[in-house]
């Protein structure tokens, strides 16, 4: 199976504090891979390292065979790496339609163009409308994002990322902050994403993880504790110890 994303000895230090410890990780093409771990395990830092918002102290990141360790976040996006944020990070005064159109325009290299109205770029608009419809947001596409219920805003997060046609999509707790009933709905949407997109998502709810992920990596104190299928991970005594909260110095 070919590999979409790998990290080799990826580390991040803040002074003496090591928040990511020599992580060797591989994400196969088309994977549905969950990243779990207790609070403070360094899951979001790991995502930030992958996307380039936080520079790595050492180690390397390879995306689709290309070393992207030294690249800026926007350059990594152009090479097929997209993300969503743990805390919703959208454009409150734009509509979902505008937000997704913006992402499509960026992908198509149109955002420096000032001499033609956005409305004249029909292909971009059509594609944005199609993505919204696919994620069941078509009926709210014209409302200001800030007026949408939080659950829908989380789906807009995914829509904006999808508009970039990523090869690898990193979802940082996509269901964070929404009621459990709605989170299942969100994951239904995620489950329907095209199979050629490799997914890595952070999630705390093990029921959702076992339902939607084929493999799971457990991160503890910045390092990989275990990796396997959801069933293997749930049966792993070390992981159970960490999650029961009686481990020493890991939480």
């Amino acid at each position: 199976m070919s590999i979409a994303l790998t990290t080799t000895g990826l580390s991040k230090n803040y002074g003496a504090l090591q928040v990511t410890r020599a992580v060797n990780f591989s994400l196969p093409m088309g994977a549905r891979h969950a990243l779990i771990g207790p609070n403070g395990a360094g899951k979001t830092t790991f995502i930030n390292l992958l996307t380039g918002t936080v520079p790595a102290t050492s180690g390397s990141i390879t995306l689709l065979g290309e070393d992207i360790t030294g690249q800026r976040p926007d350059q990594r996006v152009k090479r097929g790496l997209a993300r969503t944020f743990q805390v919703t990070s959208l454009f409150p005064e734009l509509t979902p339609m505008q937000s997704v159109t913006l992402a499509v325009c960026e992908r198509l290299g149109l955002t420096a163009r000032w001499y033609k109205r956005t409305g004249e770029h029909r292909a971009a608009l059509d594609e944005a409308a199609e993505i919204l419809a696919q994620l069941r947001l078509g009926h709210v596409g014209h409302l200001l994002t800030r007026t949408l219920p939080y659950g829908q805003q989380r789906i807009v997060e995914v829509a904006v990322a999808l508009a970039l046609r990523p090869r690898v999509l990193l979802l940082d707790e996509p269901a964070a902050g929404i009621p459990s009933g709605e989170s299942a709905e969100l994951f239904e949407v995620i489950a329907e994403l095209p199979e050629d997109i490799s997914l890595l998502f952070i999630e705390h709810d093990m029921h959702l993880v076992s339902r939607f992920a084929s493999r799971v990596t457990v991160l503890v104190a910045g390092g990989i504790l275990a990796e396997g299928t959801p069933a293997e991970i749930m049966a792993n005594p070390e992981v159970r110890t960490v999650y029961l909260g009686n481990s020493e110095g890991h939480a």
Binding site: K78, T95, M97, A112, W114, T118
Partner: protein, 347 residues
């Protein structure tokens, strides 16, 4: 699923959306010419300062940048056009273009420092550049006339036909036409993918980087556009008054143009124009009442606007419209139709 409107429908839609606006642009100069010819000078000031405020709106209202040194570009445009006219290049339109080029170049150079920082630091950097250029012009008395201003401009007739007259008629129509052309370009910028990108940068720069936008490059582009428009506005002011005061580069003017924009409403295409009109007319009326203390009145209005109508005059109009038509909760940006399936064009 996409709707393609037949061209005739699209054209009809465009006319419906823009018809009133075009009528307004034709009515204003006509009304000034027919009913208020004694106010040509005032109307010329409003038009030039309106363009200046519009240029600042691209930065403040759309891209979310801050500036307390925008007069630098206005002043450099004014001095460029002025120096050209003093030294024998009196042709006004090429003078405007050269002024735009020089202001744009200054915008490009300063943008590297201005865009390195944000918030308060950005205000300070723009203020610092403004003060530097002001003092440089003050010191270069041999070139600029220092605090006596630049005198001796000889501006040729517009298009070789329309001589600048004592009543200010040519000056007004010339300024108004240039304003209209710049407004069309600014509207195109705002409605374009680039304009949408600026709004995205104002709303959430972190997310823009996460969708792959080279944020610094886009902001630099906006900064240069704003500098160009400000330079044209300054050049217009110089050519129509045939004099350049050192104050065109002053911090006071940078603050005034910000006041104009906030009065009218930042982030509205017409915010700068409305703000400039309100400001210049209020200054005129208040200085008639009391020539020494007119700023007291302007200051009072400013405090009231910021406290009770932060969206400015156009913000008040917008909230009135939303109260009358509560459905209108969509963004004011009409460049992207709400949903292509329901609307076929753009505003």
């Amino acid at each position: 699923m996409t709707p393609s409107c037949p061209p005739s429908t699209a054209e009809a839609g465009w006319l419906r959306r823009r018809g009133g606006e075009i009528a307004l642009w034709l009515a204003v100069p006509l009304a000034v010419a027919l009913f208020l010819p004694e106010y040509y000078l005032l109307a010329t000031h409003v038009a030039a300062l309106g363009l200046f405020a519009l240029s600042l709106d691209l930065l403040v209202g759309y891209a979310g940048l801050l500036s307390l040194g925008h007069a630098m570009f206005f002043g450099i445009g004014a001095y460029t056009a002025g120096l050209l006219a003093v030294h024998g290049w009196g042709e006004p339109i090429s003078g405007l273009l050269i002024a735009a080029l020089v202001a744009g170049l200054l915008g490009l150079i300063t943008s590297f420092a201005v865009l390195r920082v944000q918030h308060l630091a950005q205000l300070m950097v723009t203020l610092g550049f403004g003060l530097l250029v002001f003092e440089a012009a003050n010191r270069a008395r041999w070139l600029t006339g220092g605090d006596d201003g630049l005198q001796g401009m000889v501006v040729s007739p517009v298009l070789g036909m329309f001589e600048f007259d004592l009543f200010g008629q040519t000056a007004f129509f010339y300024t108004f036409v240039v304003l209209a052309l710049c407004f069309i370009v600014a509207t195109r910028i705002i409605d374009s993918p680039f304009g949408l990108t600026l709004e995205g940068l104002r709303e959430n720069p972190k997310r823009m980087a996460a969708i792959g936008t080279p944020t610094a490059a886009r902001l630099r582009q906006a900064y240069v556009f704003a500098a160009i428009f400000a330079g044209i506005a300054g050049a217009l002011m110089a050519q129509t008054s045939q004099f350049v005061a050192l104050e065109t580069l002053s911090f006071g003017l940078s603050a005034e143009v910000l006041i104009m924009l906030l009065l009218g409403g930042a982030g509205h295409r017409y915010g700068g124009l409305v703000g400039a009109a309100v400001f210049v007319i209020a200054r005129d009326l208040l200085s008639d009442l009391n020539p020494q203390y007119w700023q007291f009145g302007v200051g009072g209005v400013m405090v009231l606007v910021v406290l009770f109508a932060p969206g400015g005059v156009l913000g008040i109009l917008r909230s009135l419209r939303q109260r009358l038509m509560p459905v209108a909760r969509t963004s004011t940006t009409k460049a992207v139709p709400a949903t292509p399936a329901t609307k076929g064009g753009t505003a």
